[in-house]
């Protein structure tokens, strides 16, 4: 029924004024609020649509569960936070009713109430409020300590929370876009549009951003401003159309500049489809813009403050500019008999507009003795009662304001005036949030009682109301100048504005106990702030945290200045000395969806697959994650669990042979006449003695002497090495090598190239390995004599250029066939077909781990932990004694690295062969010693070894090699396991098989 007309019987709301506002009844939509159905007009926000139907009560407050209404008409809204849903998955809590546009079918609910909005059990907190002062939770729920996490916090969270997060996965799409521009302009009101005209005229690439659906900013309500002889809002739309037609201008509406970071980097959140009745399936819901701007013009305007007086939070009480927006833009009257309470001239104009629209104005109550003369005269001309030097000191009405209590300042004479809405203004706070985020420094302007931009940290300029520039002609000049070009804009506002106050108003001073709200969203009153000061909080940062003033999701857009003024008064210090809390991104809440953007599902993180991945999956492989790689873990046959599959694979490899995908091993090609010399410096071993066609196991240490990586290095030619690294270590090893090559050894003529992904690597290991690969290898004699263990050669395999390694990580006769990656599947298939026919198996990383442990081969990062030297790991033989330099040579000589008693890698055999130790378990000499026990080390690797017929383990143990033969103990939760310390080779101790 979207957009279609329902005929004339549509109920657009009793408070929708004919002829007022800019919306047209041509298109309407239906939505529900707490189950009741309403009609909205196209362009309505949830707030304007509800107000049109006379609905002010929209929520319950955070702490006291007080009834709350709509306070503002913009993103600063602290009260009207609603749950907005399209369906059960597309549901978002804490949506500001003043920002969310109505879409057809929206299901909107109030929050933080039970069982209903009008009757809320939680509101007992309001009656108990004397017992909930600021800092109540900190003081009350201190003991017992354990109860906080389990009892207090969950209860408090349930009682005090705002909305409820959806449980279903978010089905919407979110997008990300990086963009660049010469000038980014935040805010498309009079100042921003004028600056855009000026900047665009220079040919600069301009991005103009505004959070509202339409440009215009304050011109949405500011009907007494004319620009170039036109109504201000109309001028704004025409100007936007003109700008949009320019190739160098991009206008983003419904887009919030939420963060201004280093070096001209800004985060923008664009609401792409939240306002659409039927968003396309592929339309993103929101788009994150990451913009790098050479210059930034801040034209973010100002935010009106509320008045701080007793019971200033009843539904029906709202900002004067909001009432004016609802009237002039949405055609909605916020009441039929409206009171005005102000300290600023601007609220008078709201009264004028309402009065002209036929709304009765009970009175303008102005706490100042002398308002601006022009507005005073106009009020009189319109026949509006103005009570200067008066204040509203209280209100009545449970779910909606019924009356305001007015008193002459300093006088006890009061009168109660019936109202159904009360609009308030304490003046305007420049929106300096983005300026502050950019690390700009503010200054306090005593005359106008506001903080204004002072020292800029980036190439940025503030124009208009956010810069404290109030007069339209000055504002326009400032904006044109900021744009750097020229523009002809003539703006006039009928009334000059003056006035404003910060802090508690009459009747809410230090001598009172009334509830005068400063921060609506967190239920912080003037009294709470005073209490914080009395209890010793003297820094505004402490006061903020003690009271939580300004810490809600609106970040104190309305409350910060009031809170500061009340604290300053209590501290008897000038405001600038009390200081201002720091504004932080985001300016308004940003959904996780927007921040995450594309990074979900398959795009959360790259899943790296080897060329043979699909073939392995087809063979039933289970995969494990190794970094971003998916590696075949084991290949269960029908009916096999992991243990039986691994046991079978382990047996088969040693009895026959196994085929293994080793493609993920890091590979670096080291090329150049100084390649051997470079490797001499980067590895502990000597490389100049390695002959082309041979391989060697290498250990890499860092400068501190600890093992950093290991791998087999093959020398293909005098000037060309094929280096392998651990799977996880590949990027950091290359980075480490590049670091030394570029910055310490730049004189060496050698270059490094990552070839990890160039090669598919098929390892064939086991007694029949040679027989399996023999028919595929062309142009190379792979007999034991011609191609012994640790050989490498370039040859052809199935007609494909290949690098063949004779090497082994299993202790068996083994080959690693390297072919260009695209050929991997075909070669794998052929080798596996033949291997299978000979009784071999496929095996995965788990079997690889067991087989290497049976041989005592270490895994860097498992059997070492960054504090293990080559000697600790039993690899002292791999450290050259002859070299005069290599990375780690000095570190290895440090006293602590050469002392006796260091932890050394040893084997452990449990007394009971069936006991498999837990990796990470601690090892002690005497299990009966008092706690805390002296721990000698820990288990690094432990497996059931099918080939040994028992469990095996490796461990780092203090003085380990000298303890071989001793019995040590591994205390576990339920028992203590006795183990014998052994060497690390459990299978084929003579090592004959590898040379088979």
């Amino acid at each position: 029924m979207s957009g279609s007309s329902h005929g004339s019987a549509k109920n657009l709301g009793a408070f929708r004024l004919k002829g007022a506002g800019r919306l047209t009844p041509a298109r309407t939509s239906r939505f529900t609020f707490d189950g009741k159905s309403y009609t909205a007009m196209e362009g309505d926000t949830v707030a304007s649509a509800l107000l049109a139907h006379g609905v002010h009560l929209v929520g319950r407050s955070f702490k006291y569960h007080r009834p709350r209404g709509i306070l503002s008409a913009g993103p600063e809204e602290p009260n009207a936070l609603l749950d907005v849903a399209r369906d059960s998955a597309r549901r978002q809590p804490n949506v500001r009713a003043t920002v969310q546009e109505v879409f057809d079918g929206a299901k909107i609910s109030s929050q933080n109430r039970w069982p209903s909005l009008a009757f809320d059990v939680g509101s007992v907190n309001n009656l108990l409020s004397p017992f909930f002062p600021a800092g109540f939770y900190y003081k009350t729920f201190k003991w017992p300590r354990e109860a906080w996490e389990k009892v207090y916090e969950p209860i408090i969270r349930r009682a005090a929370g705002l909305g409820v997060a959806p449980k279903e996965e978010d089905p919407d799409r979110y997008a990300n876009r990086f963009a660049h521009c010469d000038v980014l302009i935040a805010g498309a009101g009079l100042a921003g549009l004028t600056a855009a005209l000026s900047a665009a005229a220079t040919g600069a690439e301009v991005i103009l951003v505004d959070e509202q659906p339409q440009v215009g900013g304050a011109l949405h309500f500011e009907t007494s401003t004319t620009v170039d002889g036109k109504n201000g809002f109309d001028w704004a739309q025409e100007t936007a159309a003109k700008l949009a037609a320019m190739p160098n201008v991009r206008i983003l509406t419904r887009t919030t500049v939420f963060g201004y970071y280093n070096h001209g980097f800004l985060g923008l959140a664009e609401r792409v489809s939240d306002h659409l009745d039927r968003p396309g399936r592929e339309t993103p819901r929101e788009r994150l813009w990451q913009v790098r701007a050479k210059r930034v013009i801040l034209a973010t305007g100002a935010i009106e403050r509320h008045m701080v007086f007793a019971n200033n939070d009843r539904p029906g009480i709202m900002l004067a500019s909001a009432a004016r927006t609802f009237l002039n833009h949405y055609g909605v009257a916020v009441g039929r008999n409206v009171g005005v309470y102000t300290a600023h001239d601007s609220a008078y104009e709201a009264a004028f507009d309402l009065k002209r629209a036929g709304v009765s104005i009970a009175a303008i109550v102005d706490c100042r003795e002398q308002p601006g003369e022009a507005v005073l005269a106009e009020a009189r001309a319109l026949g509006i009662t103005v009570l200067t030097g008066h204040s509203v000191i209280d209100t009545t009405g449970r779910l909606r304001i019924k009356s305001m209590t007015v008193a002459r300042n300093g006088n006890m004479d009061i009168r109660k005036m019936a109202v159904d809405a009360l609009i308030v203004s304490a003046g305007w706070t420049p929106s300096v949030h983005l300026f502050s985020q950019s690390r700009g420094k503010l200054r306090w302007d005593e005359a106008s009682q506001r903080f204004l931009p002072d020292i800029y940290a980036q190439d940025c300029v503030s124009v208009g109301a956010c810069n404290g520039t109030d007069e339209t002609d000055l504002l326009v000049d400032e904006a044109i100048s900021a744009g750097g070009g020229a523009a002809s804009v003539n703006a006039e506002r009928r009334f000059g504005w003056s006035g404003g106050m910060i802090g508690a108003a009459e009747g809410a001073g230090p001598d009172t106990r009334v509830k005068a709200f400063v921060d609506f969203q967190h239920d912080v009153t003037a009294k709470d702030i005073r209490l914080a000061v009395r209890e010793g909080m003297h820094s505004i940062e402490h006061i903020k945290r003690f009271t939580t003033n300004g810490m809600a999701s609106d970040q104190g857009k309305l409350s910060n200045m009031h809170g500061l003024a009340i604290a300053a008064e209590m501290l008897d210090r000038p405001i600038p000395q009390v200081g201002l809390t720091t504004f932080r991104a985001p300016y308004t809440p940003v959904t996780y969806g927007t921040l995450v953007a594309h990074s979900r599902g398959e795009l959360f993180d790259p899943a790296r697959k080897t060329p043979m991945h699909d073939l392995e999956a087809a063979e039933g492989a289970e995969f494990e994650d190794v970094g971003n790689w998916k590696r075949a873990w084991y290949f269960p046959k029908r009916g096999e669990d992991m243990a039986s599959a691994v046991n079978r694979e382990c047996r088969t490899v040693r009895d026959v042979a196994g085929v293994f995908d080793a493609s993920t091993l890091g590979k670096i090609e080291v090329v150049g006449p100084d390649a051997a010399q470079f490797l001499n410096l980067l590895y502990t071993n000597a490389w100049d003695t390695l002959k082309p066609g041979r391989c060697r196991y290498g250990i890499m240490t860092r400068e501190d002497g600890f093992v950093y990586d290991d791998g087999v290095v093959g020398r293909l030619a005098e000037d060309r090495f094929h280096v392998t690294t651990t799977t996880g270590g590949a990027p950091r090893v290359l980075h480490h090598m590049e670091d030394y090559l570029q910055t310490e050894f730049p004189h060496l003529k050698v270059w490094l190239t990552s070839t990890t992904e160039q090669w598919a690597v098929i390892a064939v290991q086991g007694p029949k390995a040679r027989e399996i690969i023999q028919p595929f290898v062309e142009g190379l004699d792979i007999s034991n004599e011609a191609f012994p263990h640790m050989s490498v050669a370039e040859c052809a395999v199935m007609g494909v250029p290949a690098r063949l390694f004779r090497m082994s990580f299993t202790g068996e006769l083994g080959f690693e066939v390297n072919v260009p990656a695209d050929y991997g599947p075909a070669v794998w298939t052929a080798i596996w077909e033949r291997a299978k026919s000979m009784g071999a198996c496929l095996y995965g990383t788990e079997t690889m781990h067991v087989l290497r442990a049976e041989k005592g081969y270490i895994i860097v990062g498992q059997d070492t932990d960054g504090t293990v030297t080559p000697d600790d790991a039993g690899l002292g033989w791999a450290v050259s004694k002859k070299k005069t330099d290599f990375v780690g040579i000095r570190g290895l000589k440090r006293p602590d690295l050469v002392r006796d008693g260091r932890k050394q890698l040893v084997g452990l055999l449990t007394n009971r062969p069936s006991d498999v130790l837990e990796e990470g378990a601690q090892i002690v000499a005497d299990p009966n010693q008092p706690k805390p026990m002296t721990m000698l080390g820990h288990v690094t690797s432990a497996y059931w070894s099918e080939n040994c017929g028992r469990s095996i383990a490796m461990a780092l143990v203090a003085g380990g090699r000298s303890r071989i033969g001793q019995t040590l103990y591994v205390p576990m939760k339920d028992r203590t396991i006795a183990v014998e310390v052994t060497d690390t080779v459990f299978f084929d101790k003579e090592g004959g098989r590898i040379h088979g």
């Binding site: 280093n262 820094s539 201002l580 720091t582 400068e703 570029q742 910055t743």
Partner: protein, 113 residues
């Protein structure tokens, strides 16, 4: 997010393409095998961590791949200059490291004038 001038690419590029690589101008001793424990500690472990002007190494790892040096103000995060690896440390006119104390939270907060 920082914008970093790569002296090899001769262009400002996003921080996303770079990796920080520690303090700059710490030369590996020529005869490293022979230095004392104290000299080794000075070379390998001890860093100045100065507030204000610092010299540090960056690598344009997802760009040209080169390591280079940068002078950065750690308070404002402003890059005062970047220059190629191997070039000598260059003074930044009128700028020096301010002090070596670490700012407290209170000092950095509420800093409106």
């Amino acid at each position: 997010m920082l914008l970093i001038h790569c002296p090899y690419c001769e262009e400002d590029r996003s921080e996303l393409e770079f990796r920080w690589a520690g303090e700059a101008h710490i030369a590996r001793p020529d005869a490293i095998a022979d230095i004392t424990d104290e000299e080794f500690a000075e070379y390998f472990f001890l860093r100045n961590n100065e507030k204000g002007l610092t010299y540090e190494r960056w690598r344009h790892i997802h760009g040209c791949g080169r390591f280079f040096n940068a002078a950065r103000d750690t308070v404002s995060d402003r890059f005062l200059m970047t220059y190629k690896a191997g070039l000598p440390k260059r003074p930044v006119p009128g700028v020096s490291a301010t002090e070596k104390t670490v700012e407290t939270y209170e000092q950095t907060e509420g800093d409106a004038r």
